[in-house]
Amino acid sequence: MTLAVFFGCSFIAFGPALGLCLFSVVREPLRVIILVAGKAIEGLVALSEDGCSPISIQQMAYVAGLGFGLMSGAFSMINLLADALGPGTVGIHGDSQLYFLTSAFMTMVMIFLHTFWGILFFHGCETQRWWEMVAVIFTHLIVSGLGSRVRQAPSQDPEGPSGALSLSCSLPALPALWCCQLGPTVAFSAISFLFSVIGGPPFVPAGGRCPGAPAARE
């Protein structure tokens, strides 16, 4: 559509997540490593002088979740952003004009969702609450299923996937994408956020050095 839409959609999708990165991850290089690599706890412990990890499990869950979320967001948005640079907008086959905007919001919500899933899943593993892990997997499947079903929703694209179920929307004024995909995803995201807050705040003030603990060495 042009540079305006390209930058607008990319900042909508990645802005909050990159903001989180900037304020809570970038200052601590160890968190950056976890963000990129997901799990490097053995290496970190090996590097530390006193054998104790400089980063808490909650921080690691949060950062790892954020990393996964950014990757998933990148995968889903890059295609769209490349096409957003062209002169055309979605709509010639009857799809909604707000496709780019909706996808950008969807990506933003998915990044948050991944972050919260990460925290919940780690918390479930640590405290051995299996229902938390099952809930994460279950909501993962539901959100993915929602995404694929909405893609098969009515559109006059002759080359698109054919023979799909048409989703009826309880709020007909809004486009199907909003109430049938974005809505539930936002709901899951909010619920997951609440549960992850129960699990413990992942934010850590800068500093927090590991004091020497002789018991750990020998």
Binding site: M1, A4, V5, F7, G8, C9, F11, I12, G15, G19, F23, S24, V36, A37, A40, E42, G43, L44, V45, A46, G51, C52, S53, P54, S56, I57, M71, A74, F75, I78, N79, L81, A82, D83, G86, P87, G88, T89, V90, G91, I92, H93, D95, Q97, Y99, F100, L101, F105, R151, S155, E159, P201, F203, V204, P205, G208, R209, C210, P211, A213
Partner: protein, 720 residues
């Protein structure tokens, strides 16, 4: 301990390196994903237009003609112009310039195009081909084709130069020779045109006099041409690139191909023929042109003529005593005559420079077949050159020539009439030979003064133009063998030509047995005008040339690649019609020099794949012995590197990278700006949120100390 620590350090190091590689791999995949073609989002946005033909840029010594688009294509809001008043919206009234005009074929006239050319509100044009052809005729060629490259000039017949005497193509509007700075495409498929019109009606029509609202239907045309100004400039740039660059980026190519020629009596092509031998040259052109690139059906302007020529050659070869005739006959098919006589000027040049087996002095007379399919009440006009006829040695020879023709037409449904003796020659290859030497010759045509062809060098010069009609419900095989009236008419012309040639070559026998076969003419017309992929053509070509025959309408543009389909097909058809089948094996046929025989040097051997038996799937190939040769048809201007020459043709075609067209919707500027709003809100909110988060943590000092070191019992245990 130190070694252990080093080992642990190594593990961490390896873990980090692994993570880095993984990250790079993921980044590559992500970027790769973004650039894959045909992805579903792209399908939601764009509808590609596949059945289109562009207008490209051609250059000659002094000018550039054709069309040009911007580097990344030209976009514009579609507006359908079905009547002249619709143009006002595009030129003055419309509120969303620039516009991409979708024009009906009937309105594609010079006046309208000049109006569009002068406007800055046009970003491109798409012309929908008109079915049926426009009733008033349409020719984008010049009124005076190949002016300045024929024989008439200020030194030779100045009263005939520049079509002072008669405009040969009065319907010619010269559109193909104009220079446009926006892209122009031809929409060949009526279904695609309907899709575009539907999109226009859904989004671009003003409702009740109000301005049409966004989103609007738009079209983007990509046709960026690399060459500019003229041939001198583009060839200079190309030669600099070739000379100095490791990766040369040439910008244009000369139009070139091959001429096809064959002799009635075989000659040794590696040496020159005896200076006392006389040759009669029969000539036709085999190419045409139109406004759009590679759209050149050329039915009346080229195909009918060379098909008649091929039929006459076949008829002559069937005569038993032709090998004993005193004079030889050379059947010549010139390529590139549309572009200032590329083929014939090159042959004359080769003859003058002694690079051709036959010299100009060997030429006894010249017979050319110009446009012959639209004869009015069966009259065929005989054109001669008035200036050379003033010569006392040429005049009687011309009279003999005309007499032979008139004698041959007795009994055939062809009435030969001479045009006025003071009338000049129409545009013909014969004019290039006259430039070099005064030779007696005639040009046969179906028109007396201006062309009968109302679609000369246009996309409408198709089989319908020469009145080829087939009954309904025939299969392709039946259509191939059906003899149309056009075929019968052309066969009669071929009969007259063959008989006249026999007499001119010194034949003394009875000519009434010489007859051209209407069935062969009809099959050739079908193959060259409707579908090349038919059973007859399949049986006469070589085995490894499957890509030569196609199912779409054949086009006869010279192009820049060597050996276009037309040249090759003419070569194979001529070999089949005039050659003989010999009993050689495949090895002998493909390598005739291995079994030396003085006869073999005079002939050309071709291993053709033969016809398919109706019961089996395999073909029976055989060897054809013929005298068909190819010689280069490239303008001498490029051999001599005289790129600004006014003596020889200097036509070149620009190079390009990407030619395509697509339609889509464009959104208003307001919607694009609206997309920025959430981002700006987020930008304002984030610092607030995180400042609050920071202050919350500092209000819990007790947590700081306890959480200063985090022991992860599980992992610690594994290390100890």
């Amino acid at each position: 301990m130190a070694a252990g620590a080093g080992w642990r350090m190594g593990a961490g190091e390896r873990g980090r390196r692994g993570a880095e590689t993984l990250f790079r791999g993921l980044l590559f995949c992500v970027l790769g994903c973004g650039f894959c073609w045909g992805n579903s989002v792209e399908r939601k946005i764009y509808i590609p237009l596949n059945k289109t033909a562009p207008c490209v840029r051609l250059l000659n010594a002094t000018h550039q003609i054709g069309c040009q688009s911007s580097m990344n294509g030209d976009t514009g809001v579609i507006h359908v112009v079905e009547k002249a008043q619709d143009l006002k919206w595009v030129l003055t009234d419309g509120p969303h310039p620039p516009y991409m005009v979708l024009l009906d074929g009937e309105l594609f006239t010079r006046e309208l195009m000049l109006q569009l050319k002068g406007s800055s509100r046009i970003s491109g044009l798409a012309v929908a081909i008109s079915k049926p052809s426009p009733a008033q005729g349409f020719s984008p060629g010049l009124k005076c084709p190949n002016d300045g490259f024929g024989v008439y000039s200020n030194d030779y017949g100045p009263q005939y130069a520049h079509c002072n005497w008669t405009a040969w193509n009065p319907l010619g509007n010269g559109l193909a020779y104009e220079d446009f700075n926006f892209p122009i495409f031809l929409l060949e498929d009526a279904n695609e045109t309907q899709v575009i019109k539907q999109c226009y009606q859904d989004h671009n029509l003003p409702q009740n006099g109000s301005v049409p609202e966004y989103p609007l239907c738009a079209m983007q045309l990509f046709a960026h041409m690399h060459a500019v100004t003229n041939t001198v400039t583009c060839m200079r740039r190309s030669s600099l690139q070739t000379a100095f660059s490791l990766n040369p980026e040439e910008v244009c190519d000369a139009l070139s191909d091959y001429n096809v020629w064959s002799t009635l009596k075989p000659i040794n092509t590696s040496s020159k023929i005896n200076p006392l031998d006389e040759v009669i040259i029969v000539a036709t052109r085999i190419d045409s042109h139109s406004f759009f690139w590679n759209v050149a059906p050329g039915a009346e302007s080229a195909v009918a003529s060379f098909v008649t020529h091929l039929a006459a050659a076949e008829a002559l070869h069937k005569v038993p005593d032709v090998q004993m005739l005193p004079r030889n006959i050379m059947f010549t098919f010139f390529q590139g005559e549309t572009f200032d006589y590329i083929g014939s000027s090159r042959m004359v040049y080769d003859m003058k420079m002694d690079k051709f087996p036959i010299r100009l002095d060997n030429i006894h007379s010249f017979l050319e077949l110009s446009q012959v399919a639209l004869r009015n009440s069966s009259v065929l006009w005989v054109h001669t050159d008035p200036v050379s006829r003033r010569n006392d040695s040429i005049q009687p020879q011309v009279e003999t020539l005309v007499e032979a023709l008139i004698n041959s037409s007795v009994g055939a449904n062809v009435t030969l009439q001479e045009v006025g003796q003071s009338q000049p020659l129409p545009p013909s290859s014969f004019q290039r030979f006259l430039r070099a030497k005064s030779i007696p010759g005639v040009v046969l045509a179906d028109h007396r003064t201006s062309f009968q062809n109302r679609y000369y060098q246009s996309m409408y010069d198709t089989a319908e133009n020469i009145l080829m009609k087939y009954p309904e419900g025939l299969s392709p095989e039946e259509t191939l063998d059906y003899v149309t009236d056009t075929a019968k008419s052309l066969a009669e012309v071929a009969t007259v030509v063959a008989r006249a040639l026999y007499q001119l070559a010194g034949g003394t026998g009875n000519t009434s047995a010489i007859q051209a076969d209407p069935r062969t003419v009809s099959r050739m017309l079908y193959g060259f005008l409707i579908k090349t992929n038919n059973s007859w053509f399949q049986s006469i070509i070589k085995q490894d040339l499957k890509g030569l025959l196609g199912d779409e309408l054949p086009q006869h543009y010279i192009a820049v690649t060597t050996l276009v389909n037309t040249t090759q097909l003419v070569q194979y058809v001529l070999a089949n019609l005039t050659g003989t089948v010999v009993n050689f094996t495949k090895e002998e046929c493909l390598n005739p020099e291995k079994t030396p025989n003085p006869e073999k040097e005079m002939y050309v051997y071709t291993w053709v794949q033969g016809s398919r038996d109706p019961n089996s799937t395999s073909r029976v190939p055989f060897c054809v012995q013929s005298t068909v040769h190819l010689t280069k048809a490239a303008s001498p201007a490029f051999e001599l590197k005289q790129w600004g020459s006014t003596e020889y043709s200097t036509w070149t075609e620009s190079r390009w990278k990407d030619i395509r067209a697509r339609i889509f919707l464009i959104a208003s500027k307001e919607l694009e700006d609206m997309v920025q709003l959430p981002f700006l809100l987020d930008l304002m909110l984030q610092p607030t949120v995180f400042t609050l988060a920071g202050t919350t943590d500092s209000a819990l000092p007790s947590l700081q100390e306890d959480e200063a070191c985090w022991r992860i019992p599980l992992f610690q245990a594994s290390l100890l």
